[in-house]
Structures are given as structure tokens and as C-alpha cells.
Symmetry: C2
Amino acid sequence: MTNGQMTEKKADSEPKFERSCCPITNTLDILGDKWTLLVIRDLVLGKKRYRELISSPEKIASNILANRLKRLEVCGLVTRQAYQQNPSRYEYVLTRKGEDLRPVLEAMSRWGQEHYPGTMIFSKL
Amino acid sequence: MTNGQMTEKKADSEPKFERSCCPITNTLDILGDKWTLLVIRDLVLGKKRYRELISSPEKIASNILANRLKRLEVCGLVTRQAYQQNPSRYEYVLTRKGEDLRPVLEAMSRWGQEHYPGTMIFSKL
DNA sequence: CTAATAACTTTCAATATGCAAGTGCCGATA
DNA sequence: TATCGGCACTTGCATATTGAAAGTTATTAG
């Protein structure tokens, strides 16, 4: 409490978006990279554990996967649930906010299938 | 015709996708970054010229914009059309393939508006 | 002659990615 | 008891990508 760091907040008068107040931009600030949406795809398809996520055919690096899961948790798209103690192990589950990305995945899947013949889906995406 | 480059193709027996044959993955291989879909958003909204694209509120760096436009052209989402000579200047126009991304943008826009109150749209996206 | 404009390109420091190897904790096996 | 293997990560380090700023080229306006 002695120094002023993090105490001055100006009563949240400004929403303060990273790049702009465009909803597409703010969506891309979270999932605009080559891996995040693939992790979400796997979670939508019912995968829950690290081992399952890392064994997808795209071969995500383990540090990247850990980093993305952490970010998704911070952003509220995913929650971690302990499924055992000693050592603590966790499962990852989509929140409502994460589930709500399904239409985005579906739109991308449809575009990919339309324009890249040979691509194919294994489940309902 | 004298050297064999581009003649040996093994009858296209293997589709050879970058990471996997998942349509979402292949879509992300093109537009899985923080900027590409914003460029497409602007083109969907009717912007055509470099100056217009670079003056969007997100402030894309000029080298990144040039790089993305080149990639979008290579991937067939955009075509360059000369609108003057000496010096040659070009406008960028979405192909059908590029236009077909509209549902993806719409889904992202809806998700952003739903989960980030304060974001707002200026046109029909 | 000088300045301005458009559409890029170049340079270079900072950040992100990707691969491999390592860590901590356990339970099963020899 | 010692070792092995599995799981969920973490760490180190080389390479690739990004971003800010300045530079380039051609042409027109003053």
C-alpha cells in the first residue's frame, strides 16, 4: 500500500481495449494465432487431458500447449479441474464462453472444406 | 521442357497438407494470426487501397500489411488491380474465396460482442 | 526547386515459436 | 530395493516472426 502501483485506476471510466473496440479485433487478440483454436477444437470434441491434447495430429509443442491452456484459463474460456491428488493432475473443460466459439469453428471448418478439397472432418465440426 | 522441374509429381497421390488434413487447421494456416482477418474485414467493408487499409484504428505496421496482402494474393483470397500507371498503383479486391470468409468474420463479431461488452461495430459485421 | 503523397521496402531490436531435454511425483515391475 | 515408465508440465536455446521507424521511387502541386 505504500507505493502507488496498481492503485490508480481512474474508476474504470475507459474500457481500454488493446487495439480497438472492434469485436473482431478483440476476438483475434485472444485466438489470433495458429494454435489456440485448435486446442479449443479438441476441447469441443471432448478431449480433456494434456496427453490427449498433445497427441493431436498437428503435433503442438508442449510448451506452447501449456502456454495456451494458461491463457485460455486467464481469459475465462477454460477451467482446470483436479481429477487426482499427489501429484495434482487437472482436466481442462470449456466454459460457456469457450463453448460459444463453436460457431466460429464451424464457419472455419465449412470454409476449409469448401476451398481445400481433401481436408476432412472426423467429428461434428 | 528440358529439365524435369515440375514434371515429376507422382500423379498427386498425396495431398500433402502442412499440419493435418483438418479443414480448421488448414484455414488457420492461412489466417491464423492477429492481422490477416482484420485486413479481410476491411476489404469486406469496401476498402481497396493501401492507404485506406493502413489507416484502420488497429494501426497495422506497413511491412506487415504489405506481407499480408502478398500472402492473400498468393493464396487466392485477393487480387491486385492496377488503377493507374507511372507509377503503377494497385487496388486490392476480394475473390469469391475471400468473400466466403464473411461467415467466419460474422461469427467472430458475434462472439466478441457477446463476451466483450463495449466492443462495437460500425458496419454490417 | 521544394514539398507532399502513395505505396511500398529496408533495417534492426524485441518478442514468439519450436524442438529437445529435464523435472517431480507416483505406481508397477524385477 | 532399485529401476522403469507414465503424466503433466518446465527450461534452455536457436530460429522465425513482429513491430517501429526510416528510407525509396515516382509524380504532381506550389
